[in-house]
Symmetry: C2
Subunit: 673 residues, 2 copies
Amino acid sequence: MTASSPTRTPAVDTDVTLPAGATDQATEVSTEERITELGEALRRATGGRYGPARDLARASVPADLMVRDPGLTLPEAREWTRQALRRLVGLGMAGSGFPVAQGGLDDLGRSCVDFEMTAHGDLSLTVKSGVHFGLYGGAVTSLGTAWHHETFIPPAISLEQVGCYAMTEFGHGSDVASLETTLTYDEETDEIVVHSPTPSSVKSYIGAAAEDASIAAVYGQLVVGGTSHGVHVVLVPLRDEAGEPLPGITLGDNGHKGGLLGVDNGTIRFDQVRVPRRMLLNRYGGIDDTGVYVSDIEGDSKRFFTMLGTLVRGRICVAEGAAVSARKALSIATRYALRRRQFGAPDREGEVVLLDYLAHQRKLLPAIATSYAYMFALNECVERLQELHEMPEKDLVAQRELETRAAGLKAVITRFANDTNQVCREACGGAGYLSENGLTTLRADADVFATFEGDNTVLLQLVAKGLLTGYKEMWGDLDVRGMVQFAARSIGGQFVEATSVRPLVDRLVAAAARRSEDETLLERGWHLSMFADRERHVLETLATRLRKSSGDAFETFNNAQDHVLLAARTHMDRVVLEAFAAGIDALEEGTVRDVLERLCTLYALSSIEADSGWFLSHNRMSPARAKAVTAQINKLCGELRPVALELVEGMGVPEAWLGSAMLTDPERWTPGA
Amino acid sequence: MTASSPTRTPAVDTDVTLPAGATDQATEVSTEERITELGEALRRATGGRYGPARDLARASVPADLMVRDPGLTLPEAREWTRQALRRLVGLGMAGSGFPVAQGGLDDLGRSCVDFEMTAHGDLSLTVKSGVHFGLYGGAVTSLGTAWHHETFIPPAISLEQVGCYAMTEFGHGSDVASLETTLTYDEETDEIVVHSPTPSSVKSYIGAAAEDASIAAVYGQLVVGGTSHGVHVVLVPLRDEAGEPLPGITLGDNGHKGGLLGVDNGTIRFDQVRVPRRMLLNRYGGIDDTGVYVSDIEGDSKRFFTMLGTLVRGRICVAEGAAVSARKALSIATRYALRRRQFGAPDREGEVVLLDYLAHQRKLLPAIATSYAYMFALNECVERLQELHEMPEKDLVAQRELETRAAGLKAVITRFANDTNQVCREACGGAGYLSENGLTTLRADADVFATFEGDNTVLLQLVAKGLLTGYKEMWGDLDVRGMVQFAARSIGGQFVEATSVRPLVDRLVAAAARRSEDETLLERGWHLSMFADRERHVLETLATRLRKSSGDAFETFNNAQDHVLLAARTHMDRVVLEAFAAGIDALEEGTVRDVLERLCTLYALSSIEADSGWFLSHNRMSPARAKAVTAQINKLCGELRPVALELVEGMGVPEAWLGSAMLTDPERWTPGA
């Protein structure tokens, strides 16, 4: 493979609709990016339905909005983020998810892509935006009804009223059903009394609570007429116009964090705070004028998980944000590895370019391949989110399946991102540790993605549960209770969903089956069948194990917990590979497709190599085959090495957004220059 | 296993010699630690020769010196570190490595332990101390001669003169032999002219250069009478008494970093700076009064690597520091996991304690076992360093072997620490991300250990080279040149060193060999033979591969680079396991030994599980055996769970040094408390 020549980006398709709040700056093309033809073509091939929205963001968002000075103190970072949020609104990057009636686009997929594009820059800004527009705004939109939309969305879009999302308490993060905050209806005054009964019930880690939020979407147990109806959400004003806490409200500051210094996370304690009844977000359950609890959904648990289903967008966004952080880190490290030299070699002039070392290729190229895999998987997920949203009749099983997939992608991609960001930091040596080179802040900021919007271990259990039940008994989160109850009556579940990808997968698998083992190493069908077979085996043996066990239900679950997590991970591996294969299948023959085929093979073989212990111990691969896989990975690294720059360009991060001083001052890093 | 009852630490053995600079505070017992009997016994069992020095530090170093406010800004952090460094000297934690004539203890091992104990606290302080006392002071001590010792060590011990260690340049970090800075002897004035000829030759990342250092140990190419003699070190004053740079010296600030905010890393550019000839550190090579270059060591390369051999202590220290960071992170996460509950389970009262989940045990307990393994391996290494130092006749092969081992331990332990610190952060969820809980600063600070004092990839190559040559042709660092030249004439090397551990290992292996496979899973001999057999096979096949290849030497090396790194890693795994086994063998029968046996088995089996792909594909383990290993790991986790608190106490970090707010305020984190 050889590199293609650099060119300029084509004219941006500015025919992209923008939501309310966007100003003239939103369509001004402010950056001109120099990029190779192949890099540009890879971007188009991975753009999907929202490719034009991504192009517009790349062309119109100025670099200074995307790159924050990493040396800012905590108060400075908060102030920078506050100001940057206003500029983001002007660029039309914040309102896509709101109803059309309030000036939004009613496009949930687009709102995920807005989040993704924001995440190319400073992650504090991204999270601050996500908390206000996505979590708070999303709760008002999806859990509220007309009055809430009319009253609270316009000031949210204009940032006149900053909201926060008060779900997590000190005592409960993963187990939302056990939140201790009470929302007690007082029939006499027609008010809801919001209260924090214990130290552990204080809301914590709440973005914007420490300084900026004037209103909160508060999760708590709704009690009407002495009966608890489970977790509901009520809007509670927090601060007066001067920014002082309202009566009964105690606000605290979570202080310095491992990253995201621009987000003012804080604590909220409620002491018998009263709000009018209509502040309850009552789309799925509310209190009528006679003071009686009413809901279209029967059963507290089912209602609870319907409401929690609105979290799906947040999880997709976090997965997108994490994926972007890895793409950005890989872009920096690869561009550095293409310039940096170290150590001479016999019969070679000058010192060796870092990316010519096999060990360095091994650090970066499989991770680039995995990043491409996740781009396709995330596109599929984002587009599916909007498709389901657009359906006139809700498909509950499809919705559960999407929630499961989002949870799984969030878990595996945030894990990948944390690992990759670290590898990239180290691959740049001491330069990688200097904040001016763009990797350390990125790494520190993205870290928390592994535990917020769902702890990864908990989310993987949710995936396993979805698989075991065929998405039909999904009224339960993590949750040990639900998992164990299920274990007692496991029905096995369907193994493979009927999706649009299925015929393609079947065709590729059949093609590979007709070849001998020696020939199939590069066959997509062999990769697909290896992944599917592993998932099936892990899941079937898990179901059997849970079913046949007797005695203590928790012990049964707990003894199998590593098996449960493996089932989830193998499922996600299969889903991601199928998305990658389907994405490639939609392309015309040519260089771009050829490059993507190699990346897909590198992704598949790297994944098989990483789990070779499983494939070998389950007789899915011979020892000779395992060694051939390793050799083939090394070979693919060598083949992709000449187009490494194009590969990182294709991942879509403009060089000006990388915020990496060493890339703009290369002579210092080049021995003897 | 059951927990033993809490008690108080026994009286501290204050009969530990202290170096110059120590004041009365050094033996004042300022903290009283509440600790279980078993925890205390584990500390004693893992203390080794320097156990009493560790006890003294734990008893006398006040917690406020060990815990820095994580929210300090960069200037505040630098000032805090500056002040803390003075207190450290008063505690006698800084001078052990200097010659007795200058008030030191001439105890290199002790100086590593001082570094280790300092690393229990703030790592900026540790590194700041390490740069001044260890690197700068160590260069003066080991590369200088009497005049240098008399002139520069006393003001170094008293901190009247702060030194820095100016080795790395922008253009060269790993490849020290290619440094561009020139040290040119001017016969006319009897001076050495220090010069930075290119942008890439500017010294960078130099700790204390940005603000504090008044003198530097500068590495550069020594040129005498027009002939280059390779890299040497010269002392160069940097600042006048007012702190202003001296003529010809340009100082810069590396600014904000990913961590270690208290260390003022900076850049130094020399513009024809002149210093008297005697400022050259001339122990291994110098210029006589007639202006002629003289050295006892023939050959620039051999001399260079003899000088670089003094880096061994720095690498051991970094390994110690990284190991401590992991022990501290594990102490925080385990103590949290013993208090924190989440999710109820059928037929259980209250919610489940985190550490009762198998997945959580899997995150923490094998890492604790590995931490114990490294404690024994590091003790062995530190004690060996001092033994070799005390020998009247130098044993060059033993010295090379120690350098190799130190390089390998540095690489594998810093990798382990980065991974473990991250796991621990995530295991504490959102609480783990708040700086007040002690994990994020630790993680960010220890990060750079993976790339400073030798990039890990480069260090592992050094290990492999040592193995291939039997430590006999070790006059080369990374280095591709040396590795490739060696590849052309590979002699195979000896496989297993004759060490004091050998008879024990042979005995254990023989005992295991007499049993059937079903019985040997817990046998130390089986673990030892698995590790040794893997190392031998990997190394032999590597030697064969390098020997038989013809053609381009770089290609030969590069195609095998992953194999090279694997050889180094498998060697280190074996060395560490043998150190653990030998450490246990020295103990009496009883509870402590029983606990350590289980930890050692958990370490060994976890390592085998992690590399099960290799063992299976090389027919060293059957598929059934691989599954049994996994089941046994889970079983061991369950057995060690009841003594988890004792295990973390045994790792030696006093609770008051953890700096974790959540551990002192548990009711907030306990649902319903």
